[in-house]
Symmetry: D2
Subunit: 341 residues, 4 copies
């Protein structure tokens, strides 16, 4: 199996997953979900666009919602580079590779470079963003999960090796990967900042946007969000969890926002940055992927948002252990009077 | 609908749900589950019987496990009466009613009276039990959820009104009840101590033992138990939850012990004791019974332990909203490429 | 030493500590403290009086603040009796004892009986109060510690045995008591409801009101209150804690409200109700009274609110281990360069 | 005031604070403290040396305790560089500067370079360390606070500007700094990894080792450690806290280990890594440094461990607001009967 190797002398310095833009058919409802349940702060709001940030984020936005009348999509995911100079290096790199890259003006951001990855996922890079005060200690104004910051994105692609190599060439390291049998790479966790994930790929028809993950301070904040969801009519938005991943090491709840986009609440992951960290192989089907909690429902495996402008390529759906199958296997087999032997 | 009225001048003074006895085919495995995951302390142990208590319980036992080679059952549930004198009054009361009641010797308990309720559920009453030190502040020795104390029992019976009236005659009050439509009583929460439940009945083929509930200090202890279950091979024992009930007001996780008996972990419920507390009606089907969390799986509705010696009477199964139905209704309908509209 | 014996056949049935009335020189500021930090809900408010309740309290009020221009005092503490009939029995009991007791009209309360205890602490008893919805699951509206319910009162009196015997005659049991040496009773925890304290006495000049305690759901809510206090200018109101009592078994923070009245935030205490619970003796000076956390500052020992109309009798101040003494004993003795050996 | 500027093209790539070595007069007692209360895991143990790591640490050790019969000291603090090659660059850099640097063999570590900083604080750099499995999800084996990982060191030095410039030359950035008045730099928070602190300096007689900080998962783990300390005889080891810093943004408890070395338990700090993060000035005396919690006791300001071999230079002690002064200012002024007006 060919796990793409990390280029430890990358052409420019990407520092972290930074922000994303989604479209919404009902901004007011989406705003409610993201402010009251997830606990994001609104940094800027117009009739057509809302910019949000987590409570510890000094950067102006990590989530942009834009009004649409079409099917909601993920418009773009954004990464930070360290310095302005890295943007020039990035432009030169993509030009040399024959990959179209262009500078654009984006509100509240410094110099911004647009490009698409190996499967057409729309990306952007910037070094600077308008800054606003951190409000993570303003507890009296916190709502919902009061999420601290954006952590990572997950996308579905028809070829994980090909998708990942675009990023490992840019210096991303692999923390965990999944294989089907010994040979076929079907999942890859890629990171630049010092934890196991800035960008995650799993094999499926794609490219499609699977989820963005925000970090909450602790489990009590996640439970608070669940309670508030129940009170405000969003309990049907809970798709999967609470539970605890085996690989990524953390507590999770997956939500579907009012437009169907998927958001994960997670807790701070392990620190991962030393040179002697090696990619860790996990074989699907070889055991539980969760420390606790049942498998995800079918919708978690099958549903995802399209990326704006990206052409979808079919891939085999595989045969994941869904919650539906899990329940079927565990369900009472005998007449109701008798309990499970 | 005839919700049975509480006798506020009861013939004797029952104070609380106190203990229960279950049988087990594999005491060693059950011991592991109850000590390492649930966090009970062993008060006494022989080759055939283990007595457990919660970490704040001064009473010698709230759970007794007895070895069996047969189908595991619930042998008996126990209540405390306030004084020895209440046992004499109880005996006189049952004699007068023509209900067989007899004094027996039970290890570690004072004078103990055996009787069966309206559906043959085996009960016992005692005023005293051997006492042992509370260990709730001995955090360094706590394991799993480190449950504090037993809270309540739930049983399935074919006629909730008839089952409940046996207890309301003895002074139990109703905190919540469930009806199917306006008329048919199908669930009843009964209490003597100052919270909403010592004994709960729901309508189904029975009598069968549905679950016993233990109180944990807070959600972090319940999460700890879930993590430890994952590590020790008990993650398959999680049947339902975490979630938050609407009526009973608390966070829950339902487990199946290695013999299939069901145990709930819950948090401290509301204080309920004033004369002006009125029974609260909830209509099934009129809305979610949960504040958050999906409906229970079929097994939760259909599976229960038999009570030793009690004759099971069939009742209609109803048509509860199971997790399986809920998932079916929410599942992706279209081809996988498209996400939910 | 004469620990007063409990009358297990009391003349009337007191069920629990229920409510208290304090006076305030600045209702607006006190309102801020109690709603934003402690997290009480306002049940009723006029220009001169505010009634508050905890989020799980169905009873209209557990705290009444009344505007004053005088030195703020504790006007009265209130207990619930079970039934209206208990009020008549109470009146008859006090009349027979030659203790003045009179029925009064109190807003939002049923029939209410006023009386003063052995040291002139103004009491009232009622069986009913207007009810309002519980809001403990309305998490999205919770503020501060979102306290659940009032738990107990503590008062300082010059003679603990005499003070306690008034209540043990009325059926209060002793959970814990403190002695100075083997003989002198200097503290007593009295209870009617099923946990260790409805009313606590310690020996000092008095009668004076030491504190009222509210129960929070868990430590994360108490920490939330501390953070919010810091943000809203109330961090100077934290007098003692967080810490963990040894005897009462729970996490605590003591606050001083804007008028100087003391409020404790605690967590749910152990269940205590069985006949075989025996009073537990603790000897002051024989060891730490805290599981963790330093001793209270001098103010905690010396400052307390007066009770309206009660004549204060001097008592020896004792020589408690204050935080000040504790720090003095631990402080660096040598020149600053050298650290503690 | 001259805040030393960061060299953004540093001579070699330091990635993070990594480990430290302390000496102990009683290894057995220190082992108890670090394993049972702090919750470190023992990676290796001999009669004279114990190596510990946090539960999420894959690196063999973050704390080394070495037996001594002398006054306990901090022998050395260690940083990671990214690659082996960075060690060669470091050696060349120090040689060029005329700073003595030598390669040494250190058990369980790769190539290791020893050097002393501007005040003689003994440092070491390495790129690799033996790795062991992360055990952060092995909750059933966790003890005490189950700390995740080492976060930062704090040292006292007579000249903060001079001390800090040694590190800013090596690429450290300043997150926060403290001034006395507008001009005099008296504290500096320096970081390489993506949070606000790898190394902190405050002005005092020094160099002396003030504390090392470990990160716990959440406040419930810190409270668990406090409870366990109470049970195991370490409650006197709690020096300061719990409280919440204003600048560093996190919950804290400061402990003194059995040899007097100071250890902080903290929670995960904010993510800080963007180029547009600017050093933030705080002026001492201009307001509370805590979000909540009283000031530290005198011992926290005055006591610190010596660094092995470093010559101590006196500095003015300043006049910090100690807990002792704070209590004196708040203490009851009038006779005890009257409470605070």
């Amino acid at each position: 199996m060919s796990l793409p190797p990390t280029n430890f002398k990358p052409p420019f310095n990407i520092t972290r997953a930074s922000h994303l833009a989604l479209t919404s058919r009902d901004l007011a409802k989406a705003r409610d979900f993201y402010t009251e349940v997830i606990g994001l702060k609104v940094s800027d709001e117009t009739a057509t666009t809302i910019h949000f940030r987590g409570v510890e984020e000094r950067a102006h936005h990590s989530l942009i919602l834009r009004r649409t009348k079409e099917e909601p999509v993920c418009e773009r995911v954004g990464f930070r580079v360290f310095e302005e100079d890295d943007l020039e290096k990035a432009k030169a790199h993509f030009d040399a590779k024959g990959i179209e890259a262009k500078f654009v003006n984006v509100p509240f951001q410094g110099h911004t470079l647009h490009v698409a990855d190996a499967f057409g996922i729309p990306l952007e890079f910037c070094a600077r963003m308008k800054t606003l005060p951190r409000v993570h200690t303003q507890t009296h104004e916190h709502k919902g999960a009061a999420v601290l910051r954006l952590d990572h994105f997950q996308a579905l692609v028809p070829d994980v090796g090909k998708a990942a190599s675009f990023y490992t060439d840019l210096g991303f390291r692999v923390s965990d990967y999944y294989t089907a049998g010994a040979e076929r790479l079907i999942g890859s966790f890629l990171y630049r900042k010092n934890n196991p994930h800035d960008l995650v790929f799993f094999e499926r028809t794609g490219p499609r946007f699977h989820h963005a993950a925000y970090v909450a301070q602790d489990a009590s904040r996640v439970i608070r969000a669940l309670e508030i969801a129940g009170n405000l009519g969003f309990s049907g938005s809970i798709e999967h969890g609470p539970g605890h991943h085996g690989h990524g090491h953390s507590f999770y709840v997956y939500w579907r926002d009012p437009d169907g986009h998927r958001i994960e609440l997670t807790l701070g992951a392990v620190q991962m940055m030393d040179i002697d960290e090696e990619p860790k192989r996990n074989e699907v089907g070889a055991g539980a992927v969760n420390l606790w909690g049942p498998p995800p429902p079918r919708s978690w495996f099958e549903e995802a948002s399209l990326f704006a402008g990206a052409k979808v390529i079919e891939a085999p759906a595989g045969d994941p252990l869904t919650l539906e199958k899990y329940l079927f296997a565990k369900a009472p087999k005998t007449e109701p009077v008798k309990r499970r032997a």
